[in-house]
């Protein structure tokens, strides 16, 4: 029996984007019949590397060698021609069409009798074979939109198989799957392995890597920092490679906080994403919410504020000794909310700076019987904010579009300073902001808390969480896995818990 051994090598791959070196001289090799785990934090370069292999990006230098022959991948089509299938996180499918059509879309079998016609029975038969091979019992006649996310993913794998792909890349495939679906997926991936495919599996969950993969590759800041056999390495060592330092980041002084709860969320549930979240937010504290992508971090905030539907749960607001149960949408009215992507849902991008600053508090500036807006006092207070926060802008009437990211973000902060809500929710408050402004915004957050605001801080930058938070909740798989206090708020500890290490 001869097994067709295949070998894929990416050699000395370098790729830079404007201002960022995404990949520096990275080399990996993968063999057929093996599952290679590709790990690293967000922004480590995993996706960039795989996008090069998928033909979506082109590399600046380095080469890709398949079975001792160099291949050139200029488009996703090139990748497909070379037998490379990329299962993206956001699945590609055709909702109103059948499973069978989705699998064989580009290769619909011809009808033997009537020219131009396709054969419905043949496509279903073929689809059934592929699905059988994957050990799946999905009905090839069902419509794609009737399937669950996990099933859709299996259909996409089936499409890769049907088009004869030898290399299958999975990009964080379990991020939206239930535990059962996850097990089913693993079975399918192992099946592919036994079919002698080359499999590259991107994940930041170490348990998955340990359970599934044969070899591992760790990337950090665009560099290869470790590789080898999964069986030869301890989890702790891999975590160390991922984080890259054993040193603790020193905390910027933790102030005493009060125990006066302002907001309580009880047993918040939304599908598989949030499985019963309980949290209390106290006056004068910065509560950090930490977790990896897919842990439910963003979903928690979106659900609590009514931007996504809530299945069940209770939200209590405590004001002046009264307890009010409120709906998510009502909570949004009580909070200041600095959103994750300010250009999309934070700024009025073509409006002047002063209007952006006062827009959250217009009732304050409305005067007289007709409640007309007093623009003069609006501009006056905007100018004060610009001075206080040192927002760099030619004038208060400059269109906010022309400001730098950091100054735009400061303008958004001053919008909430103007209104002074008791609760502030900050989602990635320093994303896309330069180092100096980052420092200023950090100081501002600390100051706001000291002045009595209750702040919920979400950030994907662990340094930020560590240096600003008084208390950190670590989310994993839709539950709060750990509450870290004082000296336990350090990078190694938070990262280990988020990656799946039990306490």
């Amino acid at each position: 029996m001869t097994i067709n051994q295949q070998k894929l090598a990416m050699l000395n791959i370098t790729k830079s984007f404007p201002g960022v070196d995404a990949l520096a001289n990275v080399s990996i090799t993968a063999n057929s019949g093996q599952i290679m785990g590709l790990v690293g934090v967000n922004g480590a370069g995993k996706s960039t590397l795989m996008n090069i292999l998928g033909g979506i990006y082109s590399n600046d230098s380095g080469k890709i060698v398949l079975n001792n022959k160099q291949i050139h991948l200029k488009s996703p089509n090139d990748a497909a021609k070379n037998g490379i299938a990329f299962i993206h996180q956001d699945l590609l499918y055709f909702a109103s069409q059948t499973v069978a059509e989705n699998i064989y879309m580009t290769d619909l079998p011809k009808n033997n009798y009537i020219p131009f016609f396709t054969s419905k029975s043949k496509v279903i038969e073929n689809a059934k074979q592929v699905l059988d091979m994957l050990g799946s019992d999905i009905n090839p006649n069902s419509l794609m939109e009737e399937l669950s996310t996990g099933e859709k993913q299996i259909i996409e794998i089936a499409r890769a198989l049907a088009t004869g792909s030898d290399i299958v890349i999975f990009d964080e495939p379990t991020s939206s799957l239930s535990i059962k679906e996850k097990e089913r997926l693993f079975k399918v991936v192992r099946k592919l392995k036994s079919e002698n495919k080359i499999i590259i599996y991107i994940s930041h969950f170490l348990n998955e890597i340990q359970e599934l993969c044969d070899t591992y590759v760790v990337l950090r800041n665009g560099r290869l920092v470790g590789n080898g056999n999964v069986a030869d390495e301890t989890k702790n060592n891999i975590i160390r490679m991922i984080i890259g330092r054993d040193l603790l980041t020193s905390k910027s002084a933790t102030k005493e906080t009060s125990n006066e709860t302002v907001l309580e969320i009880k047993n918040l549930i939304q599908g598989n994403l949030l499985q019963g979240i309980n949290l209390k937010l106290n006056k004068g504290e910065v509560l950090g919410l930490w977790g990896l992508m897919g842990s439910g971090r963003t979903e928690l905030i979106r659900t609590a504020l009514g931007l996504d539907p809530m299945e069940s749960g209770e939200i209590n607001l405590y004001q002046k000794g009264d307890t009010n149960q409120v709906s998510p949408k009502q909570l949004l009215k009580h909070c200041g909310y600095v959103t994750e992507s300010r250009r999309i849902d934070g700024l009025f991008i073509s409006e002047p700076v002063w209007k952006n600053i006062t827009s959250g508090n217009l009732s304050h500036y409305s005067k007289g019987r007709l409640n007309l807006i007093d623009s003069k006092s609006e501009m006056q207070s905007a100018q004060n904010h610009i001075k206080n926060l040192k927002i760099k802008t030619p004038s208060h009437s400059t269109t906010i579009e022309n400001l730098s990211g950091g100054n735009q973000q400061k303008a958004i902060f001053s919008r909430w300073l103007d209104k002074r809500p008791k609760i502030l929710i900050l989602d990635e408050p320093t994303r896309g902001v330069d180092v100096g402004a980052k420092q200023e915004i950090g100081n501002l957050i600390t100051k706001l808390a000291q002045e009595g605001a209750a702040i919920l801080l979400i950030s994907s930058e662990i340094e930020e969480i560590v240096s600003l938070s008084n208390r950190v909740l670590v989310l994993r798989d839709g539950v709060i896995a750990h509450e870290a206090l004082e000296e336990n708020i350090n990078e190694v500890n938070l990262m280990s818990i988020a990656l799946g290490k039990e306490q």
Partner: protein
Amino acid sequence: MQFADFNLSQLRNFIFSYGFYILLFFLVVLFGFISNDFLTVSNWTQISIASCFLLAASAGLTLVLVTGNIDLSIGSIAYIAATVVYLTADYHPLISVLSAILVGASFGLFNGFLVAYLKMNSLLTTLGLMIAYRGLALVITGGSMHYIGKPLASFGSVKFFSNSLPLIFLVSFLLMALLQVILKKTRFGTYCYAVGNNEIAATRIGIPVRRVKALAFVISGVCAAISGLLLSMYLGEITTFTGRGMEFQAVAAVVIGGTSLFGGRGNVLPGTMAGVLLLIIINNGLGTRGVSPYIYPFVAGALIFIAIYLDSIKNRYMIKR
């Protein structure tokens, strides 16, 4: 039937899928009761004649909508095709027919080129071309009425089965059947749905998206031309009213028939046919009762509103899933 198993979402799906067929049936019964003339053979012959022009044009439009685009130029293409019939009146009827269809195909190809290859928005592109094409035809006809050749006009009044089934309706029906088969049985048809469902995915997995879109517009142009041809054959003349406002009635009929404005869903038979019949039967039924003809636009407008609202709900519901 077990009522315990019959839950709300099933009911909703049922209404989304079959609501307008039920309404159509209900209307036929209603008009049958309140009007003695409605359920007569001669009236249904009348209905079939009144509907066949819209049927032909809507059939092609359905394909364009399935790919997620829209074609508002069909009424004007119908007028241009009729103009071609007038220009070729001195030749053999077959030459008139073929040249009208060829002209429809070329105008459709131009639409398709702009939308698919130059990536222009189909709504505005075809809205502009609707005006331009009609203007072109007006230059040719001088804005006046013209008779078409006798031989071709004589086909317009041919009826089978003791004068009850008009040839022009039969042509429209066969055209619809052909398009339904193309949609459901050919690779091109499957690609139409795929492009309408998810254009990005279609591009990524290697479907020739631009060619599929362009071909849908060509077919729409051909169908519009056939519609204009049938109308000129039936009337024996072309007027400036030929095809005017047909695009909006056709869009309404197609959407009422369950084809989504968002693309990816719908069919010609029975969907679009039912949509056309619904519009025509309301007009006809009100007419046989002697109701003021001015009420018709209001009723039809309300119906279109409901259909588009349902389409939007349906689409939102699908996305959520």
